[in-house]
């Protein structure tokens, strides 16, 4: 246990530091060290997108990045999506358009969709589908999920 690294990073806008072993992924550290359990593990090998987070503006699977690589970086997770108690339009849209069923993939989809809307605030359906293809949902069949993202984009455009 003597080989832990001391890492300092910004998580959801707040300066944080933590100790981690070289073999620990960002996902493991978020969930088991920092207890930010909103980021989910679906496969732990980069195939389901349930652990999608945004690091320095880049969408990635937290299971595929080592925690030691995050020194000095800015990490966005689902816990930071609502600001000061105000839901992000994506979160409201997922609730209103029933864009989820069991909810296990929901944080990953929300973070992926946020990364999309940060880049392209008014995507068409095909662009939404293309961007979200790295996230698996087994409950919804994607229809209401894609509609939720389109609705959030509309809400953001009106704001």
């Amino acid at each position: 246990m003597g080989n832990k690294s001391h890492i300092t990073a910004t998580i959801n806008g707040e300066a944080r530091d933590f100790l981690c072993e070289p073999r620990q992924s960002l996902l493991e550290v978020l969930r088991d060290v920092l207890y930010l359990t909103g980021t989910k593990e679906g496969c732990n090998d980069g195939n389901c997108g349930a652990c999608s987070v945004i690091v320095d503006g880049v969408l990635l699977d937290a299971c595929c990045m080592l925690a030691v690589e995050t020194e000095g970086s800015s990490i966005e997770t689902i816990e930071g999506l609502a600001k000061e108690g105000e839901l992000h339009p994506l979160q409201s849209a997922f609730l209103e358009e029933t864009g989820m069923q069991c909810g296990i993939c929901t944080p990953g989809f929300l973070m992926s969709a946020k990364a999309l809307l940060d880049k392209n605030p008014s995507p068409n359906e095909q662009q939404v589908r293309h961007w979200l293809a790295g996230n698996l949902c087994r409950c919804t069949g994607y229809d209401k999920l894609v509609r939720s993202v389109m609705k959030a984009a509309d809400t953001l455009a009106e704001a």
């Binding site: 072993e21 207890y35 997922f94 358009e97 359906e125 979200l132 790295g134 919804t140 069949g141 509609r147």
Partner: protein, 764 residues
């Protein structure tokens, strides 16, 4: 867009679309799923799994694992109680062979599939546990694996269990072959039927093993305390079934176990049996610490309960006018390592939607060296429909009949006798067919090369069985609704809506929750499309009792007979003096002057085998060079009785259909000849993604279910069944080839197209 064609406006709450109360925590990341749960001093368990499909365990040496720093305990099959192998009737929980269930969780003597658990380690963290597992040495004597139903039923097949105990899934099977049990149903005289037929077709169909593919792996945390009380925190479809099975496997009294269901990240039938809970329990007992066991994704594929690969042989006879006269069905379904696969539901779903006077069905539950098959959403139905609905389409084509007219000619209607002998409960099957026929999608032109349209029709059943619910009315007029039915996809809101409707109050006044096994009466799991229908019916009965209690309270205050108190939409009134009224909230506020708290708990048994029906219509395009099939347009027509929350009803229809599309086109287990699973990942076991699927149109029909006060039918399962057959029929329409093997992967479609070209060239 996509809203139900509802004509029924007699409800205040049912039929609206409120936001679910558990939703907020799920969009903010605060919801606690099984892996989000932590306890102080908690250890982590990892499991050693067999790399062989069939082998005798000669010895296990765990000394190096036990010596690794950070390891707290090692268990093997020898640490588990020895349990007799026999079928036990657990009433509403079903027939179960606890000995085999126990052996499936931890092998003793023999391993029966790649992934079978045979030892486990508890350590300070998951990495140490995983390292320790790798240090366990096992000496195996390899045995020949049997990997598909036809080889398992062949004369010279290796015998997998020396003394096969035939299994049961709803109905028991009889022992038929060393590796197979049999269940038979029939009616009439098939020999006579085929003699009357003008046209007879015989076809064979196969399907590969598939997985439910829930995104949350199995995770459990178990604490075995010093009084031998065992507490389980996990994601399960049925906390009571888990409790009772676990008690038998680890041999503690049922009353000592409490199962606390956490949020569940998908189940689809695959989370109603135990796998890792007994392992975590024995590790906890041995270490004196709570132990969490979390499956990796590859373990989920290798060692949980997928759905059967099948071999189906059909012979159907029909008269010139389109009347089916005879059918002979041979349905062989994989049971996996232990008996008790979904064969009965395969039989029930295969032909129950049609009237066939002379019919014989032989169903086989076949042992193979794969994981033990468990229910997957409408268990057995997609495989049966893939065969039968293609046969129906082929017969209609041969007779040059419209596929809907052909189905109409043979359609089972309310009261018609079904194969197992009971009559079809009330449902409007004719209206469904007429709705499809009149729909713009059915009548839209479909232009372009290699494009085709296909239809498939399904009839499926809702379980009622045992559910429990409690309503407590609180002093402020709020209502606490607790049930024993885990919420997989929004049933807390659909049950709260029914409580609100029955009580005549706003849904926002009702707080729904799912309880642990110490806090509410028994229920069978959330399976069989039963929660919104069956648990909902019990919730309504409880609400009626609550209204009765509250009428008595009002009578006491007004000094009149209870019979003189009327209640409508949450307002209680004196029938003799209409000026005298009390609202629900006012009456709740006076509970302590009228006798104390108002609450009621009931364990009820709503009727089972309530039918649901669905027809799917699909347009596809085949790429003739690669064999890839693209879905162009997809419409689901489904009769849901009464849509409680229409948005979530649509979600059930769409989600089920997309799982069906996945199994139709992509999904399958790949085993090599030695029985090793080669695609145990979400990369190689390919679920549909956003790019594979268009928007899914829905048409909700509502022919009321008389067994539910609001007419509700379960809607969760049925729409997984038609997609493979509908797509197969569309492929035929597009390129004129029949694909009788599921999944209809590009290479199979391509080969069929090429074979057709070659045959055409040879004929020319």
């Amino acid at each position: 867009m996509n809203k139900p064609e509802t004509t029924n406006n007699e409800f205040n709450v049912v039929g609206t679309t409120p936001i679910r109360p558990d939703g907020l925590d799920k969009v903010t990341g605060r919801a606690v799923f099984a892996d989000d749960f932590h306890l102080p001093n908690m250890l982590h368990g990892k499991i050693l799994r067999s790399p062989h499909a069939h082998a005798r365990i000669k010895s296990i040496d765990a000394s190096a694992a036990a010596a690794l720093p950070g390891v707290r305990a090692v268990v093997t099959g020898a640490d588990f109680p020895v349990i007799e192998h026999k079928l036990i009737n657990q009433g509403a929980a079903g027939m179960i062979n606890i000995g085999e269930l126990a052996d499936n969780c931890m092998a003793k003597g023999k391993v029966f599939y790649d992934g079978h658990a045979l030892a486990a380690v508890a350590a300070d963290n998951p990495h140490v546990a995983e390292e320790a597992v790798k240090l366990i040495k096992v000496d195996y004597e390899l045995l020949p694996p049997v990997m598909d139903v036809r080889s398992a039923m062949a004369e010279d097949a290796p015998v997998i269990h020396e003394n096969l105990q035939p299994g049961a899934f709803i109905v028991p099977a009889e022992k038929f072959l060393p590796n197979a049990g049999r269940t038979q149903f029939g009616n009439g005289d098939t020999e006579q039927g085929f003699a009357e037929a003008d046209l007879i077709l015989e076809r064979e169909y196969t399907a590969e093993t598939i997985h439910q593919g829930y995104i949350e792996s199995h995770v459990t945390t178990v604490n075995w305390d010093s009084n031998d009380y065992v507490t389980v925190w996990t994601a399960t479809q049925g906390q009571f079934g888990l409790r009772d099975h676990l008690a038998d496997v680890i041999q503690v009294p049922i009353g000592n176990i409490n199962v606390i269901p956490l949020e569940i990240g998908g189940g689809f039938g695959g989370k109603e049996r135990i796998y890792i809970d007994p392992v975590a329990a024995m590790l906890s007992k041995k270490t004196g610490c709570p132990v969490k066991v979390a499956m990796r994704r590859d373990e989920v594929f290798r060692a949980t309960g997928p759905s059967s690969g099948t071999y189906i042989k059909l012979k159907f006879g029909v008269k010139k006018d389109g009347a089916l006269v005879a059918a002979d069905l041979h349905l062989a379904y994989e049971a996996g390592a232990y008996a008790g696969g979904p064969i009965f539901l395969g039989i029930l779903s295969s032909t129950s939607r049609y009237n066939i006077p002379h019919i014989r069905i032989n169903g086989f539950d076949v042992i193979v060296n794969k994981p033990t098959m468990r229910p997957y959403r409408a268990p057995g139905a997609p495989q049966a429909l893939f065969a039968v609905e293609q046969m129906i389409d082929e017969l209609a084509t041969e007779l040059d009949m419209d596929p809907i007219d052909f189905r109409m000619k043979n359609l089972a209607k309310t009261g018609d006798r079904l194969v197992p002998g009971f009559p079809l409960a009330p449902i409007d099957t004719v209206n469904l067919m007429e709705t499809v026929k009149a729909h713009p999608h059915y009548n839209a032109p479909l232009d372009g090369l290699n494009r085709g349209r296909g239809l498939a029709y399904s009839l499926w059943f809702n379980l009622g069985e045992t559910s429990s619910a409690r309503i407590q009315v609180n002093l402020d007029g709020s209502v606490t609704l607790t049930t024993a039915s885990p919420d997989l996809s929004g049933t807390r809101i659909s049950l709260a809506m029914q409580a609100a409707e029955a009580l005549g109050i706003a849904v926002e006044q009702v707080s729904p929750a799912v309880c642990d096994t110490q806090s509410i009466g028994f229920a069978i799991p959330s399976v069989g499309s039963r929660t919104t229908y069956g648990t909902g019916a019990v919730v309504c009965e409880v609400a009626e009792e609550i209204l009765g209690q509250m009428r008595a309270r009002a009578a006491l205050l007004w000094e009149i007979d209870t019979g003189q108190v009327a209640v409508e939409r949450g307002i209680f009134s004196n029938t003799a003096d209409p000026e005298q009224t009390l609202s629900f909230n006012q009456l709740a506020g006076r509970m302590f002057e009228t006798g104390g708290p108002i609450s009621y708990h009931k364990t009820g048994n709503p009727q089972s085998f309530i039918p649901g029906i669905a027809a799917h219509l699909v347009d596809i395009e085949v790429d003739p060079d690669t064999g890839k099939v693209d879905i162009l347009r997809y419409t689901i027509f489904q009769d849901v009785g009464k849509a409680v929350h229409p948005d979530y009803v649509e979600g059930q229809m769409q989600g089920a259909a997309v799982q069906g599309i996945g199994m139709a086109l992509n999904e399958e287990y790949f085993y090599d000849d030695e029985g090793h699973l080669k695609n145990a990942s979400l990369l190689d076991y390919r679920l549909p993604t956003t790019l594979d699927i268009p928007m899914i149109e829905t048409v909700i029909l509502e022919s009321p279910n008389p067994a539910h006060p609001f007419g509700v039918r379960g809607c969760g399962e049925i729409s997984i069944a038609p997609p493979p057959a509908a797509i197969a029929n569309a492929i035929y329409d597009a390129v004129g080839v029949r694909i009788n093997s599921m999944p209809m992967a590009p290479h199979k479609v391509c080969a069929a197209i090429n074979a057709k070209k070659i045959a055409a060239a040879a004929a020319a």
